[in-house]
Each structure stands twice: as structure tokens, then as C-alpha cells.
């Protein structure tokens, strides 16, 4: 009943997750409670339906994309490690991390990794380019039926025009960063835990 939460998560696992993601001990246990409360089937993994059960996520226009980001290629279940790895992208960047040893591998929640995550939410086929179609897809999800195809098409064209620098009519990650770079301070998809 009440004592499931910590007893199922061993100390070694918590340490590993801590190293990998940078979350603190209490954050990990809290998120584990959250994970188990979402896991209605009680089999240690979450499926897409488990996510869909959250009303606020179900009404989010980009809800399906966000849910997909948790599941690795072709899989239908995500375990706690995978859950934490995805959430780790959005941990706020702490001051003491900014001056870390540059030789160490980049933490999951660095600015460029955050942007890469956001880029991948557009770029579904993982070809490192946001094509016009992919952009249109996301746009269509966000506006629903309220804007016509032509208008949406012209918005997409304009956006690509602004961002595209090498003339291939799509947005690469570097171009995405540049367009995103201007307001990089404000796109921290951070979650304060």
C-alpha cells in the first residue's frame, strides 16, 4: 500500500539515475511515486494509454508528440530509467554546472540538448532536417481546424524562408539554433522540482 514507493527502487539504481540525469535523491523518489501512480497496470512500465489518462496532457494539442518523445524507436513501453532520461532534459540548469569541466560529456539538460530535443519533436523521420511537411504537421496539430490549408501553407513557407540559410528549403539543426538563438534565454523548458 503505502510502502511500495521506496522499497522497489534500490539505492544503487537511485545512484545510477542520479549520475545519469543529475536529479537529486528526493526528486528521484518523488518522480518514482509519480511513475507508479501513473502505472495502472503495475508492471513497472508505462504505455501510451497511461500517459493519455492525464487530462491536462490529453487536451494538449501536441500531447501525442510529447508522449512519443518518451518511447524509444518502435517500442511501446517505457520503464523508469527511460522516463527519467527524458525528463532530465528539462531539469533547470544550475549555476554550479555552468562552469563544469569541459572535457566531461555534456549533461542531458544542457542548452543545446534541450534544443535538440525540441528539434526532434518537429523532425519525426530523424533526418536532421525539418521539412515543409513536418512543419505543416506540427502547425496543423496546434491550430486544429481553425486555419485553412492555404493560410497554413503560407505561414510554413514564410517560417522556412526566414530560417533557411543554405537554400535547401528545410530547417537544419544549426539553422534551428540560430533562429532559436535569439531568444535562447526564454525557451528553457524547465521544470522546477
Amino acid at each position: 500500500m503505502g510502502s511500495r514507493a521506496s522499497t522497489l527502487l534500490r539505492e544503487e539504481e537511485i545512484e545510477e539515475i542520479k549520475k545519469e540525469t543529475g536529479f537529486s535523491h528526493s526528486q528521484i523518489t518523488r518522480l518514482y511515486s509519480r511513475f507508479t501512480s501513473l502505472d495502472k497496470g503495475e508492471n513497472g512500465t508505462l504505455s501510451r494509454e497511461d500517459f493519455q489518462r492525464i487530462p491536462e496532457l490529453a487536451i494538449n494539442p501536441l500531447g501525442d508528440r510529447i508522449i512519443n518523445a518518451f518511447f524509444p524507436e518502435g517500442e511501446d513501453q517505457v520503464n523508469f530509467r527511460g522516463f527519467m532520461r527524458t525528463l532530465a532534459h528539462f531539469r533547470p540548469i544550475e549555476d554550479n554546472e555552468k562552469n563544469k569541466d569541459p572535457i566531461a560529456s555534456e549533461p542531458l539538460n544542457s542548452r543545446s540538448n534541450k534544443l535538440l530535443f525540441a528539434f526532434r519533436l518537429y523532425d519525426l523521420d530523424r533526418d536532421d532536417k525539418i521539412s515543409r511537411d513536418e512543419l505543416l504537421q506540427v502547425l496543423r496539430m496546434m491550430v486544429g481546424v481553425n486555419i485553412s490549408d492555404e493560410q497554413l501553407g503560407s505561414i510554413a513557407d514564410r517560417t522556412i524562408q526566414e530560417a533557411d540559410q543554405n537554400g535547401d528549403n528545410s530547417i537544419s539543426f544549426n539553422e534551428f539554433i540560430k533562429v532559436g538563438n535569439v531568444y535562447i534565454l526564454y525557451i528553457d523548458i524547465d521544470i522546477d522540482i
Binding site: G2, S6, I59, M142, I193
Partner: protein, 448 residues
């Protein structure tokens, strides 16, 4: 313990001599001298014990929410995201960063959302020596475990048998008493007697749960021919409210023990029990309730418009059906004190019997009941608006969060309309300003 044993005896005596001493029971002493003192002492001791546990072991402070959310609206936050655009605004209002707003909201809701937490028990700031409220179990000290062990013994071996006895007495008296009263022909005496019987039984049952109830603003108590509306946390709500007045219950007719109770209750005074098939026909339900309310001498009906049990931290959407009946609405706010026992019925996890067992092995059930001034539907106000008005009043009085989410989200999926609403809002941001721009190009510079 002396007081409670003496109380059981007193109740038995009352039951036996009821028919002979009718007059003297117009004021039923549900609290004899012993039991008042006992209750006060018991609560004071439990209170002290809980506080000393806090002092002893400083358990982990559990935050009420997992995330600190920014409270801005969609427009505000998108505005923040776009504030430092270099391109001019006239070139279309879409930015790649717009999607970040939705991503962030989505991820925040994955980590902690406002709705699903309402369907499980509230987490306490500090432990109250009940295993069931212990979410982050870790062994703290031997002393605490010993105290906890003592608590278990007291609760299961001492309090529980007493409570079960009282509950059984209460329910059997309800069935017998109402059946007996049902045989009487005379109207006035019958009503008076049935109220008496009902009150007595509910008071015995409340003692069976060690419920301590404080009623506020008794002058606003629901009158005959009215509709009483309250927030719903558990089936015990009925016992809590019926301790202070008589209500006509509304609900589905069951079979088995519940059915026996329901049928005998109907014999002494009119309640409204629906068959399962009737419940689906909203029109039939409303007309039956309307007929009941229209007969001004009928007891006020008791309705829980949330439709399901919520965990007593918030009030969720009120179904508008009850507010279309007409008549005066008497709102009531019920707030349980979670330190002594968790009254929330998580019907997905526990069935009725195990729920009642848990109730009877808690420390106590401490409730505050506020009667709010009566409300009626105003001119030009539709049922939904009226329902929301009543809901806010109840939430405000009880110190609960007022939520617009539907309680049926416990079981059902959320409606597509809400997503479409979000999409519409966003579209108007993308398109609306553009339309304005094309109409008034000369005021472009002032648009940032």
C-alpha cells in the same frame, strides 16, 4: 474507554425502553456526560500524540505540489517566448518557439497534474501513525516503531470491536425502527417518530465511526422542500449530515443488505430511490425530484452533484442536473481533518467493506460542516453558471480548491472539446493579429 462502554449500555437501554419513554427522547442525548468528556479527552490526546510525533521524528516535508508552475495564460507565456524576435511582427505570427509553450505545459502535466491527484488520498505533511498514509516509508527510529505498534494494538483490538458493535446496533435499529414506524397510520406522529428513529440511528452509527462533527451556522440548515447540495468525499458524508437533520436520500436502489435498508427507510418517510435503468433517463429523474420538492412537507433532498468521491482537497465540477430542478438550494461544505483518519473512498482501490473497515480502524473522524445561506437561480442565469456559483461558495467556505474539471475523469476520457478550445485560442493568436495588421498597417510600430 470507560465512557464508550457506558455509552454502549446506555444505547441498549434506550432501545429497550424506547416505546415506553417516547416523550423524554424528543431530545436524544447522543452525548451523555461521559461521552462528551471522553471525546474531548480523546481528541486532545490524539492531537498531542500527532504533534509529538512531528517533534520526535521530523519526517520529510512533502510538498503540496511537485512543480512550481508559472501562472500565466497562453497569451502571456507565448508573448514571453516571442518577446525578443528580430523579425517584424507583420510577417506572420507563428514562431518555431510557439510549440515550446505546449511542450512545457505537457511535460509539467506529466510530472504533476491537477486532476489525477484528486482521485487518491491526500498526502499529509507529517505522519499520523497510520501505515496507510505513509507514502515514503523509511525506518526512522525504534521509538517511533514502538509507538506505532501500540497504536495498531489500540486501534484494532480496543477501538475496532467497540465500533463494530455500535455500527451493528445502529443499522439493525434503523431497519427495525423504520419498519415499526411504517406501520403507523397517523401522519404527524409518524413523521415525528421517523425523524426520531433516523436521528438516533445515524448518531449511533456516527459513534460507531468515532466521528466528531462540528456544525457551523446552524441557522442556515436546509428546510423542508429544499435541496441540500454538498461536496462528496465518501459514503460517510450521509451519516455526517444526517446527524443533524433529516434528509430524503436520493440514489440507486441496490440489492442485498443495502436494498433491505433502503426499502425499510422508505416505509417511514419518502426517499427517492431509482432503478438503474431509470437513472439513465435524465428527464425522468428530474421530474421525480421535482415532484418530491414540490410537496412542501417532504424532507429536503440530499444530492452530491460531483457524482463521485473526490479526495477532499478540492471541489470538482458540479453536474447541472440537480440545479435544473428548481427550488431553493442549501449548500453545505464538508471538510474532514486528515490528521485523524483519511475519509476518502478510493473506489478503484477498495470496495465498500474494506473501506468501512479502514474507517473503523482510524483514530477518529473529525469533520467540520458549514451550512451556507440558501441560494436560488437568478434571472438569466443558466444551470451551469448557477452550479458554478454554488460550487465556488462551497469551495471558499471549506477551504478547498475550486476546480472546473469533471469528477467523472476518474473513469472516463476527457472530452475532445477542450483540446479544440486550446487549438482555437492558439489559432486566434496566429491569425488574429495578422488580420489586424493587414487592416491597419500604419499602427504597426505600436504593435510590439
Amino acid at each position: 474507554m470507560q465512557g464508550q462502554k457506558g455509552q454502549v449500555n446506555a444505547m441498549l437501554l434506550l432501545g429497550v425502553y424506547f416505546t415506553l419513554y417516547i416523550q423524554s427522547f424528543s431530545y436524544i442525548p447522543h452525548s451523555t456526560g461521559f461521552s462528551i468528556i471522553f471525546n474531548v479527552l480523546y481528541l486532545k490526546i490524539s492531537d498531542y500524540a500527532t504533534n509529538s510525533v512531528i517533534y520526535l521524528c521530523c519526517s520529510s516535508l512533502l510538498f503540496p505540489g511537485l512543480i512550481q508552475r508559472e501562472g500565466g495564460s497562453m497569451e502571456q507565456e507565448m508573448g514571453e517566448l516571442r518577446r525578443y524576435r528580430t523579425q517584424s511582427i507583420s510577417r506572420g505570427e507563428f514562431a518555431l518557439s510557439d510549440s515550446f509553450y505546449f511542450y512545457r505545459k505537457g511535460l509539467e502535466s506529466i510530472v504533476d497534474d491537477q486532476v489525477t491527484q484528486r482521485f487518491s488520498s491526500e498526502e499529509l505533511v507529517s505522519w499520523n501513525l497510520l501505515t496507510r498514509t505513509n507514502h515514503n516509508f523509511h525506518y526512522i527510529s525504534l521509538r517511533l516503531t514502538v509507538i506505532w505498534g501500540l497504536g495498531v494494538i489500540i486501534r484494532y483490538c480496543v477501538l475496532f470491536p467497540l465500533r463494530i458493535t455500535l455500527a451493528i446496533i445502529g443499522i439493525s435499529w434503523l431497519v427495525i425502527g423504520t419498519t415499526l414506524v411504517g406501520f403507523l397510520p397517523n401522519r404527524r406522529v409518524k413523521n415525528w417518530l421517523s425523524e426520531l428513529v433516523h436521528l438516533m440511528c445515524y448518531r449511533i452509527c456516527a459513534r460507531g465511526l468515532s466521528a466528531t462533527i462540528q456544525y457551523h451556522n446552524k441557522n442556515n440548515k436546509p428546510q423542508k422542500g429544499g435541496i441540500c447540495v454538498a461536496n462528496h468525499t465518501s459514503p460517510i458524508d450521509i451519516v455526517i449530515l444526517a446527524n443533524d437533520g433529516c434528509y430524503a436520500m436520493v440514489g440507486q436502489s441496490h440489492s442485498g443488505l443495502m436494498g433491505v435498508i433502503q426499502r425499510s427507510m422508505v416505509r417511514s418517510c419518502p426517499h427517492v430511490w431509482f432503478e438503474r435503468s431509470e437513472m439513465r433517463d435524465r428527464h425522468a429523474v428530474t421530474s421525480r425530484l421535482r415532484a418530491h420538492v414540490a410537496a412542501k412537507r417532504n424532507l429536503p433532498i440530499l444530492i452530491f452533484p460531483e457524482g463521485t468521491c473526490i479526495n477532499n482537497t478540492s471541489v470538482m465540477m458540479f453536474k447541472k442536473g440537480s440545479f435544473e430542478i428548481g427550488g431553493t438550494i442549501y449548500p453545505v461544505a464538508i471538510k474532514y481533518d486528515p490528521r485523524f483518519g483519511d475519509a476518502f473512498w478510493n473506489s478503484a482501490k477498495y470496495n465498500m467493506v474494506s473501506y468501512l473497515l479502514r474507517m473503523m480502524t482510524s483514530w477518529a473522524i473529525v469533520v467540520n460542516v458549514w451550512y451556507l445561506p440558501p441560494m436560488t437561480r437568478q434571472e438569466g442565469e443558466d444551470a451551469t453558471k448557477f452550479a458554478n456559483r454554488v460550487k465556488s461558495a462551497i469551495a471558499h467556505q471549506g477551504g478547498l480548491l475550486d476546480m472546473a474539471w469533471d469528477g467523472s475523469l476518474k473513469r472516463d476520457k476527457v472530452k475532445e472539446e477542450f483540446k479544440e478550445h486550446q487549438q482555437k485560442m492558439y489559432s486566434s493568436m496566429v491569425v488574429g493579429k495578422k488580420a489586424r495588421n493587414s487592416q491597419e498597417p500604419h499602427t504597426e510600430s505600436s504593435k510590439s
